[in-house]
Symmetry: C2
Subunit: 483 residues, 2 copies
């Protein structure tokens, strides 16, 4: 428990609020994107090279948004030995709606029954893939407020992303992430460094409540994402230059890692290039290291590029993707480990990129580094913000970071030991999901045998739509069976 004092509302804000522990869950089944290209009879490389996707995780009819979130929460708590009575706030960000009124959070309260702790603030929050970020901001603010009672907050984001047959189906995914938020964390959110951009758009939305599938305006979706990125980045840089009192204007130079919401990995590479274009047009390349500056030499003819109208300018895009390739390799590439192999998980997507950074670098590479995060949800809501990794020269900080990273050290192993499913069977599974979606008086036909240990699964939707769950046996290594 971070604090046990009776918080009287006049104490100063706690410091160094951030992520104390994190857990990720993704389905145990995936389809290979090369095989999906063949099955879909599209040109070779369309999904793999064109979109940057290698594999896609998916769920059968025995998993739903409640089961995903139950799994990731229970695993977080058990792995890190946290008691449910130590949690004072729990909020869920999701756009996978199976009930218009009852929150996923309320279903998660089943896990708190034994502890007798029901004084747990927070419900669900929704705007496409942005819900988890909003939940995270709310958790941080609760901890900084006079209402904080000294306990941890947990932020959960989870989604099942499926598309109707056609072009977009290969951009699905599924998963959930739980973050334990507390003061004196090894990953600290930088106070006041947050730029938000929200606007009305019909780029991607889910107005057909009978279907799991969204309505997508592909071109508007890219345009909205990129223009939100431009706006957030410019606003973030302005705030950062002021608040950090930097000698020179804030630029990509000051972001050691940069992670993005990843609908598909290629868009992330384009996004990093876009930030470089922003820096270029604001004459900030000159603050880059000499090596990096060289990559942008000879681009003077693009000095008059109009940012807004350049979004679909292939020539500008290609030029800056090439010029920023080194920056992408050092700051962003390794953030796509999970996104490229699980796909778009919607709300957890951005945070899967953060997890990927953490498990793909050494402590020394992470120590004291700034990680920029860009969160985007269609509709639209977006924010850019940042965190600092603790300095591992400090033993206590190093231990906290080690503990956090140890908790997710099994991720690559779990990715590898998933079961590959053929495109034919994947298609059958999505048909099964579609035909049973929202049904009552229904028993899922898929047995839980192939799920990971410790996975919650749906056992029954009764005639009044009430859902019940069970859990597969947990690992021996410190996990206890929750149910």
């Amino acid at each position: 428990m971070p604090h046990t004092m009776d918080f009287d509302g006049h104490s100063p804000r706690p410091e160094n609020i951030g992520i104390v522990a994190v857990e990720i869950y993704f389905p145990s089944s995936y389809v290979d994107q090369v095989k999906l290209e063949e099955y879909d009879e599209v040109s070779a490389g369309k999904y793999t090279k064109g979109l940057g996707q290698l594999q896609m995780g998916f769920c059968s009819d025995n998993e739903d948004i409640n089961s995903l979130c139950l799994t990731v929460l229970a695993n977080l708590m058990e792995k890190h030995g946290i008691s449910y009575s130590e949690i004072g706030r729990l909020e869920v960000g999701t756009e996978t709606i199976i009930d218009k009124s009852k929150s996923v959070k309320s279903a998660l309260m089943q896990l708190f029954e034994e502890s007798g702790n029901f004084d747990v603030e927070g419900i669900d929050t929704t705007n496409a893939c942005y819900g988890g970020t909003s939940a995270l901001f709310n958790a941080i603010q609760w901890m900084e407020s006079s209402s904080w009672d000294g306990r941890y907050a947990v932020v959960i984001c989870g989604d099942i992303a499926v598309y109707s047959e056609g072009n977009a189906r290969c951009t699905g995914g599924a998963g959930a992430i739980a973050m334990l938020i507390g003061p004196n964390a090894p990953l600290v959110f930088e106070p006041g460094l947050r730029a938000t951009y929200m606007r009305h758009a019909y780029d991607f939305y889910k107005p057909d409540l009978t279907s799991e599938y969204p309505v997508v305006d592909g071109k508007l979706s890219v345009k909205s994402y990129i223009s939100a990125l431009d706006n957030c980045y410019q606003n973030y840089c302005r705030k950062a230059s002021t608040k950090l009192k930097t000698d020179v204007p804030f630029s990509l130079r000051d972001l050691d890692f940069m992670v993005f919401h990843s609908p598909y990995c290629k868009l992330v590479k384009k996004s990093l290039a876009r930030l470089a274009l922003n820096d270029f047009l604001q004459d900030k390349i000159k603050y880059y290291s000499e090596t990096e500056q060289k990559c942008f030499a000879g681009l003077e003819n693009l000095r008059e590029t109009d940012l807004a109208s350049s979004i679909f300018d292939k020539s500008v895009e290609t030029t800056f993707m090439t010029a920023s390739n080194n920056l992408f390799e050092s700051k962003t590439h390794r953030s796509l480990l999970i996104a490229s192999r699980v796909g778009n998980m919607y709300t957890p997507s951005l945070y899967s990129c953060l997890v990927s950074v953490l498990i793909s670098h050494s402590f020394e590479e992470l120590s004291n580094k700034r990680i920029g995060l860009f969160s985007y949800g269609s509709g639209l809501a977006s924010s850019m913000f940042s965190m600092k990794v603790c300095n591992v020269d400090d033993d206590q900080s190093k231990q906290a970071l080690e503990k956090l990273i140890y908790g997710i050290s099994d991720v690559k192993h779990r990715l590898d030991r998933r079961q590959e499913i053929s495109p034919e069977d994947f298609t059958k599974t999505l048909k099964l999901r579609a035909s049973t979606h929202l049904k009552c008086d229904y028993t899922p036909s898929t047995p839980p045998e192939h799920t990971f240990p410790g996975t919650f699964y749906l056992t029954k939707v009764d005639d009044k739509f009430r859902r019940t769950y069970d859990r597969t046996k947990t690992y021996q290594n410190g996990f206890t069976n929750g149910h």
Copy 2:
């Protein structure tokens, strides 16, 4: 604008955060509950005396959750002369879901276009009737956090509550409330005085996404509400006794007004009686005024009542409703003005009770008083918290309170000038809503003639489900036409 300084994240928390202004919107049509009793062929008084409902507001097919919230936000801003650039956070609490992904908040960003202010945090938050309270807590916490940038927050709650034909249909309603949140407010939330109770329950939920109607387990719903009330009240009293350092244990004596989420008014009267029962069982009646103590004389035989099992004990209920009648009259009765005439508005219900208290008492009656609030959302999520009205002996405070109350001084007038619709036509309207719910390529058949001035209404849902709105002419008194 409350603050214009560059907030550096280390400034102390602003003080006296609360409601600076409030606006309510309810539909211009209602059905009379006496006539509905006749039409439904139920015993006379079933809805009016049995449930305490007089009238019920409802919308036709030209209003949806977006239009309700657009209306209440635009009216708040115009009435109080607030510029959209002064808003740094806007969050919507609702359980009226017309899109699983795109938030109502994102639709409200249309009103910000002209101002060019898109740096506005907050999205939608959902758990039945509790969403508005969660949005409110989040707004207060944002303002107390290092991320506050000196601007106002706006909290919006809105819902359209309709039920399938039968017993529950008379408990519908519709409306929206917008609250402007800022420091140095005339209605101040008491820091740290907040008790929450959340648990998994299928009492009222909306698993059939194709329908506007909920699934309701009536008995479980009452049981869940009352047991949440017991838990929140006991926890709130414990916190209040400690934090306020009261001489004697905190009880109803210390709450000058007590407002409740009102699914129907009779449940609110039962709830106030329930708090008195809690006080009685904890031997706190002796702290009541002498006059009030007398009402509870001779109840010693109920001293051993078991709280949990007494929820459906009619004898205990009747005894305490009689004993607490004076308390109800002074603390709660007038809070039901809007709830009894508009019905259950879901998320705005509790805040309509607050508005009713404010417009039903003189400044002197309100001055320096504590208002307790109990928020309940099925599923379940609940909180009890409190606010203090400013002391009107202070001129500046009095002016702020006057301004706030002036803004809602037209509520009774608006209630009176609504159009009464016969139960036959009301039924036809609900059939129309049901048959057109979620349709695309649809033009509403109801003209906007009978809506209040300044009301947004749905003009079209196109073939891609995109919704467009227009607005009726606003009043002359300072309102400008937004569209």
